[in-house]
């Protein structure tokens, strides 16, 4: 029994790290920012932690918080120019930012190890630490999402004009979402560095960007459960059905298309909407049914 559990621990760790990335992507999408910067921010966190451990020999806790800090700083700096852009232009700008970080990581090889990346990082975190991390993230985002901040995020995402007319500062809340996304992405990246023994630049490229986006699109963008469900499902699918492993991209790509076409709110949020429609006192009222269909 113990052997059975132990043999699946690496998979569990992978899923937890993917959940961290998914949560980072979820925060910005919930606030209506079309940013896909998570991969780049995670890269910054991972390199910070890796360098701190290898060059300065700091303990894991310091390295992880160092990663979170640099991730947050990078995100806050990025949020200033991004606040001026919208829609697809935000997406393009953040794709560019991911590419800039990737090519700098490749270029500065005396610091980052270039294409070989950073190797020989000792494994400093185990499953308990990762579980603690993801639990804290989920609790923090859940708590924020229930209150004023979550309501503001939802309003901005559905209609920015309405949000402004209600006195919600779009810039303030989107910067907040960006900072949160940076902290989570940086921390996840740092944990990846402390867990995977090595980090290479290509890990944090376009592939990670699309994978993380797929988690959130499949799971849902409103509730915290959405990105978790998406990340768990998409990380587990290739493991459960071995033949699918060779066709990983068809599974991820096909599910992304099916989800955005037939379940535009993602699995979790679609269930939530259906339940609310079935039970709420205004169940038959069209405005309730249509409320979530706005700019989701």
């Amino acid at each position: 029994m113990i052997d059975f559990v132990l043999s699946y621990l690496p998979l569990l760790n992978l899923i937890i790290l993917n959940c961290g990335l998914a949560l980072s992507q979820y925060v910005v999408l919930r606030a209506g920012v079309f940013s896909v910067a998570t991969a780049g921010l995670a890269s910054i966190g991972a390199y910070t932690a890796g360098l701190l451990i290898l060059r300065a020999g700091v303990p894991a806790l310091v390295a992880v918080f160092g990663g979170a800090l640099t991730g947050m700083i990078a995100a806050l700096i990025l949020s200033v120019p991004l606040a001026r852009l919208r829609g697809v232009f935000q997406a393009i700008a953040t794709v560019a930012m991911v590419q800039i970080i990737l090519s700098i990581a490749l270029y500065a090889d005396d610091i980052t190890g270039g294409a070989n990346g950073l190797n020989g990082i000792p494994r400093l975190v185990g499953t308990p630490a990762l579980l603690l991390f993801i639990a804290v993230c989920i609790y923090a985002l859940w708590g924020l999402g229930r209150g004023r901040v979550g309501a503001a995020f939802d309003t901005i995402r559905q209609d920015e004009t309405v949000a402004v007319s209600l006195g919600i500062s779009v810039q303030y809340y989107q910067t907040l979402a960006f900072g949160l996304s940076g902290v989570i992405a940086g921390m996840t990246g740092a944990l990846m560095a402390c867990h995977n023994h090595s980090i290479v630049p290509e890990e944090f490229g376009f592939d990670m960007l699309t994978a993380v986006l797929a988690y959130v699109v499949l799971g849902g963008r409103r509730s915290v459960a959405g990105p978790i469900v998406g990340a768990v499902l998409l990380s587990l699918l290739p493991e459960i059905a071995r033949p699918l492993a060779d066709n990983r991209m068809i599974v991820a790509g096909g599910l992304m298309m099916l989800a955005i076409i037939y379940l535009p709110h993602g699995i979790v949020d679609s269930i939530a909407i259906a339940r609310r429609r079935a039970s709420g006192p205004l169940a038959s009222h069209p405005s309730v049914a249509g409320a979530a269909d706005g700019r989701a």
Binding site: F34, L85, V88, L102, I104, Y107, T210, G253, I260
Partner: protein
Amino acid sequence: MIAQQILNGLVVGSVYALFALGFTLIFGVHHILNMAHGAVFMWGAFFGLFAITRFDLPFPLGFVLAIVLAGLLSVALDWVAFRPLRRRGAPEFSAIVSSIGAGLVLMNIAQRVSDTRVLRYPFGTLPIEIYSFLGLRVTLIQAVMVLSTLLIVAALFVYLFYTRFGRQIRAVAINERTATLLGVNPNFVYFQTFFISGALAGAAGVLIGIAFNAVHFLMGDAYMLRAFVVIVLGGLGSVMGALIAGLLLGLVQTLTIAYVSSGLSDAIIFSILFVVLLVRPTGFFGTLRKEQRVARE
């Protein structure tokens, strides 16, 4: 030496322009950011390769066949990935996600077809000939690249600005609803723009596949990212802008590789993209329609 580098840069740039034109056309007319454009480009290279290796077609025929097939693939993409979203009136973000998904599927199929190998055009598909021209060396491949790009772009301009079909496309670009009221069949316009866009990508795919003699299922990604730079520099949706910006990007890239550093080339290019987005997100050239939803007030 520098004249030779400039020439090389313009040759590469002409293919960037070809690729980015299709991308920007779809954005300009339908406001769709087609992230699967790189996959269509990659399939264009595969179609050309299979036409020449499996069916022993001569190069010009294989080239034309690849262009047509890539065009049809792009139309199929529109039907599968975008039409259901249009019907629901989904926000623009949905189209980005859906096309990323479609691109992944197309790439995975290409990976299976090619067994993850790098495929090559057979030796002598285009004979290696070098011409001297004003003291510059021009290979036959480079000449084919530039001439076919010029031909295709000229044809596109005539089509867009001097035919009835082109007028319909431009009308839809300005306002799809009004154009429909005036008797334009929007589905036919979608068919045309996606076919043209795919055909341009397919042509670029074959040319790049031959020029670097490598056809690989991941080849689309790098060009997709370059296309972002081209279309932002030229203005999203601007045909003329994509052409000029494509040439310019080829030039900048070749010159930075030759005189600065090949490792920094990407960082420089994407930094240019970032700065342009901040300073002038509408790009430097006019578009098929005025882009109003670029920046916040």
